[in-house]
């Protein structure tokens, strides 16, 4: 049986349905949770709990250019502009409760995980206090060591047990081991499909415009434990493989330079950024999400480790290594770094990381200032000049490499 729908449509429909289902659940009087993007959604999925992800919501609202009123409201409440804009948008939404760009239901409980940042803990504390609802906290300790230590693993697993119990008590639903296994399998299958799709970007030319990745990855945040997601992502992988086979691509320019996009997308200016890059024939063929969002595991220990090894949760050496791998595998010539005002952790050792990556791979690097959601912190003019010189450096490197080859 072949599905006539394209993967992109399937993914969009699934995202729409994710939000509709949550609203519907709320209407029916079911309990709805708000969850951190890297909270193991498997735990909730196997108890059939409706969840919404504030980070994903904030990103979507920003991409629809509707973030500013929320940011301004939060500032009026005393929130500093220094705070991550996702948090500001969401903390404003909790009061305003209406969002024309994308409505979400209010939460009855909160699922927080701090693997991607510690700011998450403060954000969810504030939600819990102000909404007076329970906060179930999953602490995934930062890995200063090269691997997740046995003590960390034990601590995380203890908390899995604790949170399952808390959820059971709070929702009155039962956790079933059997269903959990099934959800783990589906999630891993979604992860494998994502990996397969992303590995097609190794081809030259890449079969797609890298910006599409940013719209697809939301589904892994929100819905990876559902069969429909696995189906859609496998469809995506099939389509991309087919394009590679035929030498086709959805990138609507000549792919002159292949880059790694580093940092969270600048959502309010996604279109502008994409067009600017296209002007120079620069295509994004890699991002940390390629590997990071695909969590593949076959038991509880492996699942705990997968969630403990997400970006921002591993040490400098590992962060460097994961990027170097993508750069090499995907034949990347340059790294474009979003110095994202929101994300202190991500930016925190970017300078050192960039130096090491440049040294190990010899690729060109460039920075631009911005913010994932706060449109006031991005300058089109700065972006355009930075891209122009980035392009020139890549051209020079290419010419030099070609000359080097000629003299050999």
């Amino acid at each position: 049986m072949t599905d006539e729908k394209k993967a992109s449509e399937m993914i969009k429909e699934l995202m729409d349905k994710h939000y509709e289902d949550a609203l519907e659940a709320k209407k029916k009087g079911e309990l709805v949770g708000w969850a951190a993007s890297n909270f193991p959604q498997e735990l909730a999925e196997c108890m059939d709990l409706a969840l919404v992800y504030p980070e994903n919501h904030a990103a979507a609202v920003s991409a629809k250019k509707a973030s500013l009123p929320f940011l301004e409201y939060a500032e009026g409440q005393g929130y500093s502009t220094d705070i991550c804009s996702y948090a500001r948008i969401n903390l404003a939404f909790k009061d305003i409760k209406e969002c024309e760009a994308l409505q979400i239901p209010m939460p009855d409980y909160l699922l927080c995980a701090n693997n991607i940042c510690d700011l998450m803990v403060k954000w969810y504390e504030n939600l819990a206090v102000e909404l007076n609802i329970p906060l179930f906290m999953l602490d995934i300790p930062y890995n200063t060591e090269p691997a997740v230590t046995p003590a960390r693993l034990e601590y995380i697993k203890e908390q899995f047990r604790m949170i399952i119990k808390q959820l059971e008590d709070f929702t009155g639903k039962k956790f079933s081991e059997e269903r959990f296994k099934e959800v783990m399998e589906i999630s891993s299958a979604s992860g494998r499909a994502w990996k397969r799709a992303m590995s097609t970007l190794m081809a030259t030319p890449s079969p797609m415009n890298g910006f599409e990745m940013f719209t697809y990855m939301g589904i892994l945040v929100c819905n990876k434990g559902r069969k429909e997601t696995t189906v859609a992502l496998n469809k995506l992988a099939d389509e991309l493989e087919e394009r590679v086979k035929n030498g086709e691509t959805s990138y609507k320019a000549e792919e002159k330079h292949r880059i790694l996009s580093e940092g969270i997308a600048c959502w309010p200016f996604l279109g502008h950024n994409m067009k600017t890059l296209m002007q120079y024939g620069i295509n994004v063929v890699g991002a940390i999400y390629c590997d990071a969002f695909a969590k593949v595991y076959s038991n509880l220990d492996e699942m705990a480790i997968a969630y403990a090894e997400v970006p921002n949760c591993v040490n400098l050496e590992r962060e460097v290594a994961s990027r170097v791998k993508i750069i090499k595998d995907h034949n990347v010539e340059g790294m474009l770094i979003h110095s994202n005002r929101s994300c202190k952790k991500w930016d925190g050792f970017m300078y050192e990381m960039e130096r090491r990556i440049a040294q190990e791979t010899g690729i060109a690097t460039a920075y631009f200032d911005g913010d994932q959601s706060d449109p006031r912190l991005f300058s089109k003019a700065q972006y355009e000049t930075r891209i122009q010189s980035f392009y020139e450096v890549m051209e020079q490197k290419k010419a030099a490499a070609a000359a080097g080859e000629g003299t050999r």
Partner: protein, 377 residues
Amino acid sequence: MSNVNEVIAQFQEVVNQPGDHVKKYIAKTGNKAIGYFYYAPQELIHAAGMLPVGIWGGNIEPSSVRSYLPSFYCGILQTAFEMGMKGLYDCLDGMIIPNLCDSLRASSQNWKVAVPQVEFISLVPPVNRKTEAGVKFLLSEYENIKNTLERISGNKITDQALNNSIKVFNTYRQTMREFTKVARNYPDIITPSIRNAVIKSASFMDKVQYTALVEELIQGLKTLPVKDWDGKKVVVTGIKMDSPALLKILEENNVAVVADDLAQESRLFRSDILQTSANPLENLARYWSTMEGCSLLFDPEKKRCDMIIEDVKETGADGVLFCMTKFCDPEEFDYPIFKKRLDAANIPHVFIETDLETETDEQARTRIQAFTEMAAL
């Protein structure tokens, strides 16, 4: 009085030249010194026969640090790195960096490269600190640190030594709580700068010696008459308030600090380590679960705000000064809730942002002036 002044002068000397003081200690005792940010197990360092040195940055213009930390990192980290990179911490044999905020998380990794001569010692305290799993996890973190400290010092940390250190530190904590209470009665002598100098000195001094000196100060103060204070009384909250310029502004405006909720001050000695287990390391780990009232501790009820309100009631303060360390997101998240709760309790409060010490505090001056006038109503 002369005795009180002499003791105070000793503390002032320490905070004016903390590096010199630490170096002198090392030269005199032959012991090593270990730096730390915030809540590190100082007792372990002490039990290994070394000096724990609290690192809070300092008065230095950030320059070299620019190649490691983004410009929107707090002044504490900017200046601590700058000092480390300039070799000012070379007298330290290690640096414990606890993972308490995102900036510290990333900084731990930068430290390894930017200040390689001062060994980075990892500490990732559990967020779920009140659960048994959390205590167990912290115990494992402390075990690692214990091993590292034994290696660096060459001394074994015995249970007996650790028990002794816990006693030393509990005495220090009790003494400090008494000091803050007694100091309230003498705002003319224990001015905001002096109060800060006395408390901050603990970061750089041997705790036994330090505690004895504070005790002497307390006894000295108690012999003096308690005078009426016609200025304002405030409770201060935040990470730290040790900018000499800002402290001076308070003094110029006749503002007395009657209690604090600062990470550099009272948060360090609000409660004692309980001796509930025969294993002192476990007692140390359990301490983390009993601490309250800090933006860096998981606090889903924001008890911190209630504790500040209690302090105001207990001390009869005229209001609260929120001393915000610029770019400190844990504190920035607490502020809106603090504001709401204090407004609801009808307690006046003022927001002051501090950045690098090298910067002027004109805005702070205006705000504090306005605040003292408002609080007079």
